[in-house]
């Protein structure tokens, strides 16, 4: 039986209320302290074979018979009106099969993809599909667009002074900050600035669409196959059941691959018009200018505390630049939610600029807000003469300070202790010297959500050789969630992880799954897989009971064997499954809701050690100790990889990543991977990773997400380590040689 259940889910700081279909589930939770087999052991990712053999088919690799190549004509101007466009001329080019301009744009008037009033350099104006790349180039050239240009704003400060708001300011208040500051023995006010960070996934946004009268098939590099299905069905007024979305392998996303963007609707429209499959792959330059970015932000925080370091008030003002689209990313969430502070008042102004749309980027808002909060707190600790880690301990909150709700679990204090131990925090002052190379150590706390929730569904089936297939309606960006699904199913079925096949990335398969993002995927899907696996387990035991004439309740399934509880009976599982012929035993499972009235969060602490060359301004992050509390770990190797990846992107943000926009022309001048620097293998610090690792007692399977947490505190920890090393605060990223030399004066 299935029920409709009302649930509350927190998605990257936004609370969503929804009804969701939930199946009955009598899967027993593991006992506290129980160490189930396979769970938490290191496991190689299930897709390592095709990914290392070159046989993994990414969307960019899809080739269909008769397929056309497509490309987009984009405005070179940051603000303009299209005064001429020769679509007919493009159509007249040999080999061009379809060409469309704003008048033919998919998306209707409300959300047209092609525009005749481009509001940023790179805005899509027209699109062409052709037999060959040569014909495509000729077709694009034939469009001969003409523009009337207009003034524009790209600079965040200028946008702020013009007060061109994208939407209403986002304000939060509790207590009375004025009285809080009046009660404070010390106050610190600091402004932290940061430019946009570009996702720079190596596989660009791309889509292949095969539009046929009986249905549309979309291959797409996406974080949400079901999101794409709904977008296409909505934009073209199709029955969602007639839209199939396939995304078997995704070459990185990091938040930029939600929604169908420009590529999916344009490829669909060009395929519809030409009657041919169409492939549309963005160039690197398009990728870096039109598909999203972490918003540039300016965050001013004023914090007040009593002499013992107890926070009395936090007041915050922030501005973020959304370009032409986005939402108000929660840059004040750390100020609001990390520490126990009775009086908090924050306001965030989302600004419009003549730049491409913003997009969520791994811990959107929270990472930026953590840099600001943790940097300001470090200054407070210095002013009060309190050890920075101790200051954080003293402001630990037992309940969610914004709502008063209890946490499902919170082991942040253990994270501090463990990180301090692993980093040698007590001896950190011995790192310091007056020489040319200065070393220092800094810490920062991590806060995020990550509890996941419904809807998420899975199907498990086992066949005659006791090999099982897990089917889930999600996509694997490389996070390892499919491997986790295999592990959880293997545990229930008592078979090795290697005997599990995971099928995913196709809406034609069973099991609607969640999008991949917000650190929600793992916590959402794994309980559904476990429930499905458990149903199969129960059936196998029932069949075994029938065969061996024993009650199913007296049987267990482990290590490929069915055993009676008294140990008298031992049979390989294949003795039972061998009777199935070509039938399967199947089970389905769904994700139930999280408990009402509780806050679900992940926690952590990172401690960075840096070495600064005070003569050249070169900063080296030598080591990052990362200790996180994300509930139960399913795959210790995969979890460590997630942490390493998050930390490295944090190192990139801190040291080198910056979209540079020329205020005179409105153009992004480093929209390539030579000028936009991201970390190489030589930039990787030593990463010491640990988890405090106890299952969350209030969540199914005890699992929380790990995608965002590791990137969140890294920049703050690096900046604080720099201050420890040099006595100078870096309040603006990236910490490049130029900025460091200028800061050191």
């Amino acid at each position: 039986m299935a029920r409709l259940v009302r649930t509350e889910a927190v998605v990257e700081g936004r609370t969503e209320i929804r009804y969701t279909l939930v199946e009955d589930d009598d899967t027993p939770e593991w006992e506290p302290g129980e160490r189930p087999p396979l769970i938490g052991e290191p496991a190689a990712r299930v897709s390592a074979g095709p990914r290392t053999a070159g046989t993994a088919r990414f969307t960019t690799d899809i080739v269909l018979p008769g397929m056309l190549e497509a490309a987009i004509l984009r405005s070179p101007h940051p603000n303009a009106r299209l005064t001429g466009l020769d679509v007919e001329a493009a159509l007249a080019v040999d080999g061009v099969r379809a060409a469309i301009g704003p008048a033919d744009s998919p998306g209707g008037e409300e959300s047209a993809v092609l525009t005749d009033s481009p509001g940023y350099a790179g805005a899509p104006v027209a699109a062409v599909a052709a037999d060959s790349r040569a014909a495509l180039r000729a077709g694009l050239a034939a469009l001969q667009p003409r523009y009337e240009t207009a003034g524009f704003v790209v600079d965040l400060d200028e946008a702020l002074s013009r007060q061109d708001l994208f939407s209403d300011p986002s304000e939060y208040e509790r207590g009375d900050v004025e009285s809080g500051f009046a009660d404070s023995a010390a106050t610190v006010e600091a402004t932290h600035n940061m430019p946009a960070q570009l996702h720079s996934a190596l596989e660009p946004h791309c889509a292949v669409v095969d539009w046929r009268p009986d249905g549309v098939t979309v291959w797409c590099s996406t974080q949400s196959i079901y999101g794409i299905r709904d977008d296409v069905a909505g934009a073209f007024d199709l029955d969602p059941e007639r839209v199939r979305v396939i995304s078997e392998f995704v070459g990185g996303a990091f938040g930029a691959k939600f929604g169908s963007g420009a590529v999916v609707p344009l490829a669909a429209e060009l395929s519809r018009r030409s009657g041919r499959p169409v492939r549309l792959v963005l160039s690197r330059r398009e990728e870096q200018t039109t598909t999203g970015y972490r918003t540039p932000a300016s965050i001013t925080l004023k914090v007040g505390a009593s002499a013992d370091g107890t926070l009395q008030a936090i007041e915050g003002e922030g501005a973020i630049g959304l370009g032409s689209d986005g939402w108000t990313y929660p840059i004040m969430e750390p100020a609001k939610s990390v520490y126990a502070c009775p009086n908090v008042h924050t306001i965030v102004v989302p600004l419009r600029q003549n730049l491409g749309p913003a997009a969520a980027f791994r811990a959107p808002g929270v990472m930026e807000g953590t840099f600001a909060l943790e940097g300001t707190l470090d200054e407070l600790a210095e002013q009060l003469g309190i050890d920075p880690l101790e200051l954080r301990r003293r402001n630990h909150s037992e309940n969610d300070p914004a709502t008063g709700r209890p946490y499902t679990s919170k082991r942040l204090l253990e994270c501090y202790d463990r990180a301090a131990e692993l980093a040698g925090w007590e001896g950190r002052d011995r790192l310091r010297s007056d020489g040319r190379i200065r070393r220092g150590m800094g810490c920062a706390s991590q806060f995020w959500w990550g509890g996941g929730g419904p809807p998420a569904y899975a199907e498990v089936r086992i066949g005659k050789r006791a090999r099982a297939t897990v089917t889930v309606g999600l996509q694997d960006l490389g996070t390892g969630v499919q491997t986790a699904c295999a592990i959880v199913a293997a545990e229930r079925l008592g078979v090795p992880v290697e005997s599990i096949t995971v099928r995913a990335g196709d809406t034609a398969l069973a099991g609607h799954g969640p999008f991949s993002g917000g650190s929600m995927t793992m916590a959402s899907i794994v309980p559904a897989v476990r429930a499905a696996g458990h149903k199969v387990r129960q059936q196998i035991l029932q069949l075994a009971g029938d065969m061996f004439e024993i009650g199913a309740d007296d049987l267990t399934l482990e290590n490929g064997e069915i055993r009676s509880v008294d140990g008298a009976l031992v049979h390989p599982i294949t003795e039972v499954t061998g009777q199935l012929g070509n039938a399967w035993v199947t089970g389905s499972g769904s994700r139930g809701p999280n408990p009402d009235g509780m806050a679900v969060n992940t926690w952590g602490c990172q401690i960075a050690t840096v070495a600064v060359d005070t003569a050249t301004g070169e900063l080296r992050v030598e080591k990052v100790v990362a200790v996180h509390d994300v509930g139960r770990i399913i795959n210790s190797m995969g979890a460590r990889s997630q942490v390493a990846g998050g930390v490295l992107q944090g190192v990139g943000f801190a040291l080198m990543e910056e979209r540079v926009v020329d205020p005179n022309t409105g153009l992004v001048v480093n929209a390539n991977l030579e000028d936009y620097k991201m970390p190489t293998i030589a930039d990787m610090p030593e990463i010491v990773c640990d988890f405090v690792g106890e299952p969350d007692p209030h969540l199914a399977v005890g699992v929380k997400g790990l995608g965002e947490p590791p990137i969140i505190p890294t920049t703050a920890a690096i900046a604080n380590a720099f201050a420890h090393a040099t006595g100078v605060r870096l309040r603006e990223t990236p910490f490049s040689p130029r900025r460091i030399l200028e800061a050191l004066g």
């Binding site: 074979g49 990914r51 690799d61 080739v63 996934a201 190596l202 596989e203 960006l477 992107q649 991201m678």
Partner: protein
């Protein structure tokens, strides 16, 4: 212009357009899509293949300039490549896997020239292959596992 080029041991005579890059030849004409494209202008290392045993970027290599030369890609077979594949899997030297073929080819080039590299030599040899997911620690460990100790 006609070009004779050997790819993974197989000879091909290509009536190549002068503008055709090696990456386009592999992916669009020889159906060898294991070699991935990410920037198209020589900045990321994703499209690395071996040209006469040296690692090169297939996006910046003209087929016309490859007459008589030999190319190896991730689809090729060799014991060293097999060992590296297994090691990358065992050390989790990959996440999304998009950069992995290029990483593997750089690693093959290194270990063929220098079967016992130091960690520093591994880092230098792999420093032209960007991995946005940050699987670098596993990559170093994988190459070192396959190196002759």
């Amino acid at each position: 212009m006609e070009t004779v080029i050997t790819v993974n041991g197989q000879r091909h005579t290509v009536a190549a357009d002068d503008r055709l890059t090696l990456g386009e030849l592999l992916r669009d004409h020889l159906d060898l899509t294991g070699t991935k494209m990410a920037c198209g202008e020589g900045t990321c290392g994703t499209c690395t293949v071996l040209l006469d045993d040296r690692p090169v970027l297939s996006c910046l290599t003209l087929v016309a300039a490859c007459d008589g030369r030999s190319v190896r890609t991730v689809e090729g077979r060799s014991p060293l490549l097999e060992d590296l594949r297994a090691a990358f899997a065992a050390t989790d030297g990959l996440q999304c896997g998009y950069c992995t073929p290029g990483q593997l080819m750089s690693a093959v080039a290194l270990l063929e020239q220098n079967p016992s590299p130091t960690t520093e030599e591994v880092v230098t040899a792999m420093s032209g292959n960007l991995c946005r997911c940050g699987a670098y620690a596993g990559i170093i460990e994988a190459v070192e596992r396959v190196a002759v100790r």
